[in-house]
């Protein structure tokens, strides 16, 4: 009789539970919180009030882990948006054209995503909701179980062959392991300085399902805070709008400040859409967005323990990677367990595999937030090429595919067309789209935008 215990029944924990049920006789998921009965945000997951999109790499992994999950999400009203085929994006150099890159995202509320995943993942698993993990049991050589406390009851011990920590960003596993005499775990935190403010809206009927995903990236300006916005359609004809700002330029969480911030961005389209929609509930701020990594794989730790999801690597949410890395990691966990069996002694290999799955997301996040520390100043040639890249990215299918596939954690295309990239970088760039031209790419949005412009006496909201 083999048993695995998963600590934390969030996104990573639920998926890990589903996979472990294929390899262990008994699987128990310990979750401190109570799951809501409907597709709603919950207390134990403060970020569930904010935009959560599932990028293509994670969507594929989720579908492989739990076939039919994407269909179930679409049936409940989730939206599929190609990047940048169905997304109106204002990048550093201007508006993107609609291009097919193979990259996409799936957008719905985090509450819906979690509910659909839980329903499909936890069928063969015992879920102990309202139960808190208190620590690990065992010694420096081997974790043999966990200590937990059900609401209102005394602590009890559950024995396990494998304990999986999926308690997220604020995991206490390093302390728990130290209490058993395990080695110290290196931890690295790189601040992103990013703050979120989010509000959900009921969309006007004519735009509800037709709206592209909208992303306004910060104006590229050194030494000034970067401010941006996203608008994603979610289920039930709603939109979720998130405003983001780095230190010194944080988005306010009061009514007036939220609207003014949106209007002060490089383009007022998100502010205009907000004004046309009906707010549902208040504005919610979020500040804990630093990049954090725990290097479990580098320490000498007891057998029988592995961590997954945000407990290992949690990156700046602006990348929309966390859930996808969790899904990709669970897929990898499944493969490793198929290969090695549920053997406590294989834990170091499992820990190394979990770290490897999170590596590319971690690198991308650090390239943005850790800055060029240690790197030499770019040469004039390098600056020129990078500036051309930023501009050509808006209209070159090759460059856009490379960029959006990496961003959505899809594997790079096997055959890269170098000469086409060279032509895109050295030729005359395609003219930049005006806001009107960018909006015209989306007929429903254009009809609405045109009407708004007419009301304003022909004055187009201009690109700042």
């Amino acid at each position: 009789m083999t048993r695995a215990v998963v600590l934390g029944g969030g996104f990573a924990g639920a998926l890990a539970g589903a996979v472990l049920a294929r390899h262990a006789d008994d699987v128990i998921v310990i979750e401190d919180d109570h799951y809501p009965s409907g597709p709603r945000a919950r207390r134990g997951l403060p970020q569930s009030h904010h935009s959560h999109v599932l990028v293509a790499g994670g969507a594929r992994a989720l579908q492989e882990l739990l076939p039919g999950t994407l269909e179930a999400l679409f049936a409940r009203g989730a939206h599929h948006r190609r990047l940048p085929g169905d997304a109106l994006i204002l990048g550093a150099a201007g508006w993107f054209r609609r291009l097919d890159t193979g990259a996409y995202l799936i957008s719905c509320s985090r509450g819906l995503l979690d509910q659909v995943v839980r329903q499909r993942a936890l069928g063969a698993v015992s879920t102990w909701a309202g139960t808190r993990a208190l620590g690990l049991v065992g010694d420096a050589r081997r974790v043999t179980g966990v200590s937990v406390r059900r609401e209102g009851a005394a602590p009890e011990t559950i024995e396990a062959d494998l304990v999986v920590d999926a308690t997220g960003r604020r995991s206490k596993a390093p302390r728990w392991l130290a209490e058993l005499g395990g080695a110290e775990i290196e931890e690295l935190t790189v601040s992103s300085g990013l703050a979120y403010s989010t509000r959900v809206y009921q969309a006007p009927a004519e735009l509800a399902g037709e709206i592209p995903a909208i992303m306004l990236h910060p104006r590229p300006a050194r030494g000034r805070p970067g401010q941006g916005a996203t608008l994603f359609p979610i289920e039930d004809g709603r939109w979720i709008v998130t405003l983001t700002g780095t230190r010194g330029g944080e988005p306010p969480a009061d009514e007036r400040g939220f609207a003014d911030f949106a209007r002060s961005l490089r383009d007022p389209i998100v502010a205009d859409l907000m004004a046309a929609a009906t707010p549902l509930g208040g504005i919610r701020p979020y500040r804990d967005t630093s990049n954090r990594r725990r290097f479990f794989e580098r320490a000498r730790l007891p057998a029988g323990f592995v961590a997954i999801g945000d407990a290992v690597v949690a990156v700046n949410p602006v990348h929309s990677h966390g859930m996808s890395v969790a899904a990709l990691s669970t897929l990898r966990l499944d493969r490793e367990l198929t290969r090695r069996g549920l053997d406590p002694a294989a834990a170091p290999e499992l820990r190394a595999a979990m770290a490897a799955e999170a590596e590319s997301s971690w690198r991308m996040a650090l390239a943005q937030d850790a800055g060029p520390a240690g790197r030499r100043e770019a040469t004039a040639f390098e600056r020129e090429i990078l500036a051309r890249r930023t501009r050509a990215l808006l209209s070159s299918p090759e460059l856009a595919a490379e960029f959006f596939r990496a961003q959505t954690l899809l594997p790079a295309r096997a055959a890269k067309d170098g000469p086409a990239v060279v032509r895109a970088l050295t030729g005359e760039p395609d003219p930049l789209l005006t806001t009107r031209e960018a909006v015209m790419q989306y007929p429903a949005l254009h009809a609405w935008w045109d009407a708004l412009t007419r009301v304003r006496g022909g004055r187009e909201p201009s690109l700042r």
Binding site: T379, F381, E382, I385, G418, P419, V421, T426
Partner: protein
């Protein structure tokens, strides 16, 4: 054998030598003085033998030991450029 700069490379002569950008890998390289000279000869001559002969003449004159050294350096440089996909070699 004929040598050709890859169609996936953008390059420019700069004060510090030749700067390269490989469009497939996204990598930048800067060549030193000798490397830059070899690169220019690949761009203008495109054949291994004449390049070696020219460089040998430029750097070694009649000194046989130096010619051997130049030959070795050029082959090594071209080998590493070909390996990185910056230069391609085709049968003439």
């Amino acid at each position: 054998m004929s040598l050709q700069i890859s169609d996936s490379v953008i390059w420019q002569e700069t004060a510090g030598g030749i700067s390269l950008y490989h469009a497939e890998t996204g990598d930048f390289h800067t060549l030193n003085e000798t490397g830059s000279r070899i690169w220019e000869l690949v761009a203008s001559d495109g054949e291994r033998e004449p390049i070696v002969a020219k460089l040998s003449h430029e750097f070694a004159g009649d000194n046989l030991a130096m010619s051997v050294r130049v030959l070795k350096d050029v082959q090594e440089f071209l080998g590493s450029m070909i390996e990185r996909g910056l230069i391609e070699e085709h049968p003439a």
